[in-house]
């Protein structure tokens, strides 16, 4: 079977002597920088082409056309061919950095893991982080410098910019504008500051479509100064989420999710468990995990919060006399919160208006959350003003013709700016605009100059995490497509002789180190880069004075307006604001609630859909003001009535693979209504559109798939959820004396974030199949997260259930394979031998858990990603063979071989599966069932442990911990 990954591996293992390799090594390990060579992209691509050509020659039997071996010319130190090496760095999302370790095989970055030493990661890695590795290799990335429509080169661009600098200096930088996204990078900030000195008249603007303006404004109002809040979920016993993105998108959510889950495992917390309430208009991950969830329209949320404020004494008493609200529910909530003063956390999502944030702050304040569950630091972002204002000013200046030089660094306003600003037309007024972008996106194409940007894995830079911790980002390879970094660009404007980003960043930190007198810089630099964390840079806690009367002059709530539709804008779980819209893994990642791939849709509550006579797949035309947008409908249980959620980030018109996928909601998004806007008209077009959702049925239909109970039940009788399972079997038992690999998955911890799915995809060379094939039900994900509803359709309980291979001891799949292609080994792994498979697909029919995947076409070779990006430790599967989760057998084998080499036992936790490693909430544990001390056994021994479809007696090795709800006895309605 032809396996590009492996072939490339076998040839590149020796190719790797080539200059770019040595250079890459030098780049990755600073102390090798003396071995640096120049880098030539064309040569790199030639080599790739060569490797692709060689890809076809692999296979068994005689080598009619033997392959070649290319050894090093000079062996670099510390590179053992075939050994993984890890390099710390960080990726940013809307400015905030998350630390990670990038795995290298022969100097090729192939996998992203979280950096356990980094506060924002704690070892976990989000789906988006992990997918970034594919973006690095994406052949669709921008590769050409283009000036005024002419293909140019960096070398021709530099003088142009340099000359411009001259004229700008004369007018003190008047007319010079710089547009960036949110910036936390100390170095970039210092560069811009330096510019400001040279060009006093210049302006720096930032734009983030998913900005946190409202929260910032509210906090500034509340505390008299801008602050960032840090949450201590260990202390929070009562959590109220208001459309909260606390464990899904907020800066630092990976860390928050870790602590959130830790407080919700009754078996580990001696029967104690935080109680979570959620009030939201559209389902969030926090809402899914909430013990009580109340879907409300935005205006209802406003009044509900005022009611709460009244109840807990944070606001005027008369607010407590609200009507047409589920007051019984809210009252119970209010009482519960008050009984837990000091242990309460109220969190509102970035999409909530300033009033809500003020109310949340006030309630937190009066319930003594500040200093306990909520702590303050000065903002991590360097320029923390309103992004919206910032962009508005810029646009107006452009319209007024005040701007003649505009540098756009990694922003894409033409696509995602508020529609009413008409940025595109404004940009036409700018005679000289430069766009530094990863893709030839909408803005880049409209600028007079466009420069391919470096990926974050291709250049030196630095960034700060949600708590202020600084990471020095080191490149994982030389620029694959000739990109340039923002630093290099600004350096030119600063009149510095062209130097590469390494020198710049290095110099900057040398200065910093001196100022902070860090002692020996060499050591400091080495440690910081190596560990991925600059020690002691976490922001100091800030003591603030919350003003108590913020609520007094709060504008009156808009009157209840039911049956008038509202559009809500939300970030997409995979594409964020659209900047990841070209990433195949994220496009094909099933969204936690809709399970949609390759598309976004207008999410409508069942009741509303009924009223409007709409069904999933219908196409509607949504009119806001004069603008109309066509969108397919998706009926989403748990969505609040009368509001239609439109995920942002889709419908790109330029860029890479994402072009044409989904629809863009940005045209409907204006400045005054960034997150919710009344819908002028919604009309059914009569067309239908096929949405590729990978969820078959929404409910378990009486099967024992999701076992759940209440904390009450559990504490009264821990074994109440145990079901008597009989171990009768006709077959003599096989015993697994040495090792018995097993997995335990905790449904309480799983928040459905999809990180494990992407981790598995990255680790195991799982190909993407494309929308058509997903529609044909041929998606390849080895590990999927099933989503089940229970209870009424409008306010359902949600359960997420990760489904890897169960590795049944009496596996039904194995017995029906006629060629021994799937069998057991002596450690109880259910092996899948691809090269023996003839593709009868009987095993899949006979798998009760439906975790087997089949290569109906040669998907792997259809994926246009460079061979270098596949994991060389895993076979790339050919057309016509079955495949499935292997418990990451390659990791097991590598560790076992290493252990056997020096005759030592394997420690528990030494072997970690990809899904387990990436999981932010540690929902997945893998280990040896025979080792009574192992973590996996500890979890399996808990009374909550159960296996799926017990009655089939397949004896799965993967087991689950039942779902426990910490219900508030005062709330009768089980579902709300």
């Amino acid at each position: 079977m032809s396996a590009p990954g492996r072939t490339y591996w076998q040839t590149l293992e020796e190719i790797a002597d080539s200059p770019e390799f040595a250079a890459a090594v030098a780049r990755e390990a600073p102390r090798f920088k003396d071995v640096m060579h120049g880098f030539d992209r064309r040569r790199f691509l030639q080599l790739m082409a060569a490797s692709i050509a060689l890809g076809g020659l692999s296979g068994c039997g005689p080598e009619s056309n033997p392959r070649q071996l290319l050894p090093y010319v000079r062996e670099p130190e510390n590179v053992v061919p075939g050994h993984d090496r890890f390099f710390a760095t960080a990726v940013t999302q809307s400015g905030y950095g998350t630390g990670e370790l990038v795995t290298h095989q022969m100097a090729r970055p192939i996998k992203v893991e979280g950096n356990p030493e980094h506060p924002a990661s704690l070892g976990a890695a989000s789906a988006i982080m992990q997918a970034s590795i594919l973006q690095l290799y994406d052949p669709r990335r921008a590769q050409l410098v283009v000036g005024n429509g002419q293909i140019a080169t960096w070398e021709t661009f530099v003088p142009v910019l340099y000359n411009r600098r001259g004229t700008l200096l004369d007018r003190k930088g008047d007319g010079l504008r710089i547009l960036t996204g949110a910036v936390t990078s100390p170095f970039l900030t210092s560069q811009i500051a330096a510019l400001k000195q040279q060009f006093p008249q210049m302006q720096w603007h930032q734009w983030e479509p998913l900005h946190r303006d409202a929260e910032m404004a509210a906090d500034t109002k509340m505390f008299g100064q801008p602050v960032d809040k840090l949450y201590d979920l260990g202390k929070a016993e009562r959590i109220l989420g208001i459309g909260s993105d606390l464990i899904s998108a907020a800066p630092g959510w990976l860390a928050y999710a870790r602590h959130f889950a830790a407080a919700r495992r009754p078996t580990e917390t001696h029967g104690k468990m935080s109680r979570v309430y959620a009030i939201e208009s559209t389902p969030t991950l926090l809402g899914a995990k909430a013990d009580h969830r109340l879907p409300l329209r935005p205006d209802e949320i406003d009044r509900a919060l005022r009611y709460l404020a009244g109840q807990v004494g944070a606001g005027p008493q008369d607010w407590a006399k609200q009507t047409n609200l589920p007051t019984q529910w809210l009252k119970a909530l209010a009482d519960d919160l008050q009984q837990n003063k000091g242990k309460v956390l109220v969190h509102a999502g970035r999409e909530q208006p300033a009033e809500i944030h003020l109310l949340a702050n006030a309630i937190n304040n009066s319930l003594g959350a500040f200093g306990q569950t909520v702590n303050f630091i000065s903002p991590v972002e360097q320029a923390n003003g309103s992004k919206q204002q910032s962009l508005a000013e810029l646009t107006h200046n452009m319209d007024a013709g005040k701007v003649d030089t505009l540098l756009i660094l990694g922003a894409n306003p033409i696509y995602d700016a508020p529609a009413d600003l008409h940025f595109a037309t404004a940009l036409k007024r700018v005679p000289f605009s430069v766009s530094l972008a990863l893709y030839d996106d909408e803005t880049a194409l409209a600028s007079t100059w466009r420069i391919p940007a470096t990926h974050e894995y291709e250049a030196w830079s630095d960034t700060r995490a949600f708590d202020g911790t600084v990471t020095i980002q080191q490149p994982q390879t030389r620029p694959l497509y000739g990109g340039r970094s923002a630093h290099a660009l600004l350096a030119i404007l600063l009149g510095q002789p062209e130097q590469d980003d390494y020198a710049l960043v290095h110099a900057f930190w040398q200065k910093q180190a001196q100022q902070q007198n860090r002692g020996d810089f060499k050591q400091f630099w080495y440690d910081s880069v190596r560990s991925g964390v600059v020690a002691g840079t976490a922001a100091k806690p800030l003591s603030v004075q919350p003003s108590s009367d913020v609520l007094s002059h709060l504008p009156q709530p808009d009157a209840a307006k039911s049956n008038t539709l509202e559009a809500l804008f939300r970030p997409d779980e995979g594409l964020w604001d659209g900047r990841y819209a070209d990433n195949p893994w994220l496009l094909e990642m099933s969204r936690p609630f809709t399970r949609l791939t390759w598309d976004n849709a207008a999410l409508i509550a069942p009741a509303t859909a009924k009223r409007l006579k709409l069904a999933t797949h219908d196409v509607v035309e949504i009119a806001v003001g004069a603008t109309k947008v066509k969108a397919p409908v998706f009926v989403l249980p748990g969505q609040a009535g009368d509001c239609i959620t439109l995920p942002l980030g889709w419908g790109r018109s330029a860029g890479g693979l994402g072009v044409g996928a989904g629809f863009s909601a940005y045209p409907l998004r204006g400045s005054e209504h960034p997150w919710r806007v009344p819908i002028a008209g919604l009309s059914k077009t009569g067309e239908t559109y096929r949405l590729a959702s990978v969820q078959g049925q929404d409910r378990v239909l009486g099967r024992d798939l999701i076992r759940e109970g209440t904390l009450q039940q559990f504490n009264d009788n821990p074994d109440s959820l145990k079901k008597k399972s009989k171990d009768e079997s006709l077959y003599p038992p096989y015993d697994y004396p040495d090792r018995a690999w097993a997995m335990a998955i905790d449904l309480n911890s799983c928040i459905g974030c999809q990180a494990c799915t992407i981790a598995c995809q990255a680790e195991n060379n799982v190909p993407i199949v494309g929308k058509d094939q997903v529609l044909d039900q041929r998606i390849m994900h080895w590990l999927r997260i099933d989503r089940y509803y229970s209870g009424p359709a409008d306010t359902p309980d949600v359960a997420f259930e990760p489904m890897p291979c169960m590795h049944c001891e009496d596996a039904p799949c194995e017995v029906v394979c006629p060629v021994h292609a799937t069998v057991h080994d002596h450690e109880g792994l259910n092996l899948m031998v691809y090269n023996r498979c003839v593709g009868t697909r009987f095993c899949s029919n006979n798998c009760p858990y439906k975790v087997r995947r089949f290569n109906f076409f040669a998907y792997a070779s259809r994926n246009d990603r460079p061979d270098a990006s596949w994991n060389p430790e895993v076979t790339v599967r050919e057309r016509g063979v079955m495949e499935k989760c292997t418990y990451c057998i390659q990791r097991i084998r590598t560790t076992q071989i290493a252990a056997n080499r020096d005759n030592r036992p394997i420690k528990d936790g030494e072997i970690v599966t990809a899904c387990q490693q990436s999981c932010p909430t540690q929902a997945i544990i893998f280990g040896d069932k025979n080792d009574r001390e192992s973590a996996v056994v500890k979890r399996k021994d808990t009374p909550l442990d159960y296996v799926l479809l017990d009655e089939l007696n397949t004896k799965p090795r993967t087991s689950y911990s039942a779902l426990i709800h910490n219900r508030n006895p005062a709330i009768k309605n089980e579902q709300a």
Binding site: S729, Y731, D810, E814, C817, H824, K955
Partner: protein, 177 residues
Amino acid sequence: MTTLYGVLAVFDTPEAATKAAVYLRESGFRRFEAYTPFPVEPLNRVVRPGPKWFLPILMFVVSVLGAGYGYFIQYWDEALNYPINVGGRPHNSWPAFMVGTFEFMLLVTIAAGLFGMLAASSLPKLYHPLFTSRFFERASRDRFILCVKASDPIFDSKDVEEAFGQLGAEHIEEIRA
């Protein structure tokens, strides 16, 4: 002049042929054969074409051997050659091996039957002296033919032809090979 193979007589009914055959046997002839368009039961008893039990026994023996081999090859495969844990089933899952055993047994039995039959009838034999007679073709149509072989100890062409004549043979002919 080639050697005499035997004398052939054509009868138009099985009864006549049988009568003739009985006569031949009673008058001490041993080496004669009857050729008929369809099996005529009485003739069997007169002509005595050899043991009836041979083929059944042959097929039985073969079937036993076949079954044995069929089972063994499966047992060898799963339990001896490469014993792998398949879904926790025992290496010697004899119930599962039964199908293969059974089918293979039947296959070899049928084969033994067919080839045994041909061998026992010493077929194929494209050439046979009798084919030289143009009357012989009717043995596969509507006539019943007796043939006394010259090799019979008491064979004498004159007597035989005479006898056939009396027995009402339609046609009498000497066959030479």
